[in-house]
Symmetry: C2
Subunit: 347 residues, 2 copies
Amino acid sequence: MSAFSCPLPADPADTVQLGHGSGGLLMHRLLEETILPALDNRLLRQGHDSAVLDGTTGKRLAFTTDSYVVRPRFFPGGDIGTLAVNGTVNDLAMAGARPRWMSVGLILEEGLPMDELRRTLASMKAAADAAGVALVTGDTKVVDHGHGDGIFINTSGIGVIEHDLAIGAGAIRPGDVILLSGDLGRHGICILAEREGLAFETTIESDTAALHTPVLALLDAGVPVHCLRDLTRGGLASALVELMLASGHSTEIRERDIPVEPQVRGACELLGLDPLYVANEGRMIAIVPEDAAANALEILASFPETADARAIGTIKEGVSGQVVLASTVGTRRIVDMLPGDQLPRIC
Amino acid sequence: MSAFSCPLPADPADTVQLGHGSGGLLMHRLLEETILPALDNRLLRQGHDSAVLDGTTGKRLAFTTDSYVVRPRFFPGGDIGTLAVNGTVNDLAMAGARPRWMSVGLILEEGLPMDELRRTLASMKAAADAAGVALVTGDTKVVDHGHGDGIFINTSGIGVIEHDLAIGAGAIRPGDVILLSGDLGRHGICILAEREGLAFETTIESDTAALHTPVLALLDAGVPVHCLRDLTRGGLASALVELMLASGHSTEIRERDIPVEPQVRGACELLGLDPLYVANEGRMIAIVPEDAAANALEILASFPETADARAIGTIKEGVSGQVVLASTVGTRRIVDMLPGDQLPRIC
């Protein structure tokens, strides 16, 4: 079985059929027998077109959306369901919001084995429970075989902003310190290794993780966080270039302070990839004032998902959008945005 | 050109490429040159992973999600973009909420002509502006040719609930009157006619419409609305069976009071379809107490999108989930949920 295609298994009764998307009895059964039991919670059970949310108490809200089309759908360290929850949790966390509610939009391909749907939903439920997020509203569509790819998932999330900071590129100031939460490149290399059938001494696992707990700890401790960004598609390099363009500043980062696991580094060399551009699903940068950096690092170090956090560079005045890398061998080079299509369908 | 497939046009520069989804320079350009200008608004321009929403003032919120996979993507009366905005506006309206914010998740197929993307985005923007909804956050993924179908769109919406009613199946009471907002079946028959190349004397246009204005007018006038439901996949019949199952009541509806345009009726007879099951995208039922029905009908009649509203039946005690149709020829039959896959990919 190729990881890329959705095989048509022998028993159609155990697969998703077009009728499962038509709003009738088959769909009712799919919801009652498979989807609702897997994701069960009070709001979803209300069975309305909309979930009714209470308890926002007038605070600012963060609202985000992401679709997930990763292939293969199952990989070491996670699957498309884990990713769909953690990725949206992280987008909320990057606004300094406490993730609260999430929607689930499924686009299923006719012929998808029901068991794969069940495994994916179970992963979503486990990741949502771990993050304290309620899956409150959903939608299921079915597309004909050959016009989709197994499962595509959209999750949209709402979080409550309990701080008064204006976290974002606009708050970045020269002198600020860039904190990187851990090693780079594991998610991207894990996916690529699965696709290409590459074997390493030990399996490289995706870094997929929810980052809201350490972020909220920074805010609770009063760290005046200027900007947060998770390092997904395009990796650290693209994120930094985007933030420097948006803020009008520049930065210099130190290669020797950017952790990359030896196996990931080896795979990157083998494949001609630069770990600075490889996607991560559980890594972020936090940009904080210089005098808050030591305290912030201490807080991050106390959580397993950011235990290896370190300062990797500082914000400077100068050419807007410029990111310079000081390499381990003493050279300095300009880091650009990823030009093309290094790794399609990584998330 | 078939409406079903996504052709690979001659000039790849004018189509969506895999690199447009990879988080680098190509994606940055797609966003800056095509997507953001088409959907432009202040919150989207913030360029964060999350939109920050202000002004919820502690009221209850409605939250909903829907993915749109309709084919063909362009049809008389609308397109997938119109549908994606109106459909989610309507899900919020069915909670009696004022639609405020919407997310846009695009899954594009490699090879999609850029012009189709531009037309779709323009439709979304026009529909959002008409409904007073801000498109505040988005995401774009690209899947390889043959693993998607042109454009899939997810929209998630947030609305503010300004009333104190508990609108839903749980509020339905025996004696309540069912109001239907207009004629049935135009969206489904329009899509089917496009797919099958059926020609009618005049073109049947989709009924796609946003229904929040008449709904909010009912609530503003103090109509104690018990339940609202839009009649999408599965049509009026499936919606009523679901609501009767959820409320534990039964109902009898009168065929003679259910408007169906002659051309739609003719097409249904030709195709062996029952208009009660055909999908609509701008129709709803409102279930209200008997003594509020006349006032509610008068209010609905004053809006073009619900001008043809009428009472079609009443809620009864008795077998939970039972829906009986009193036909024009004097017979009575039980209406079941749509058993299978009458019309796949209708929305």
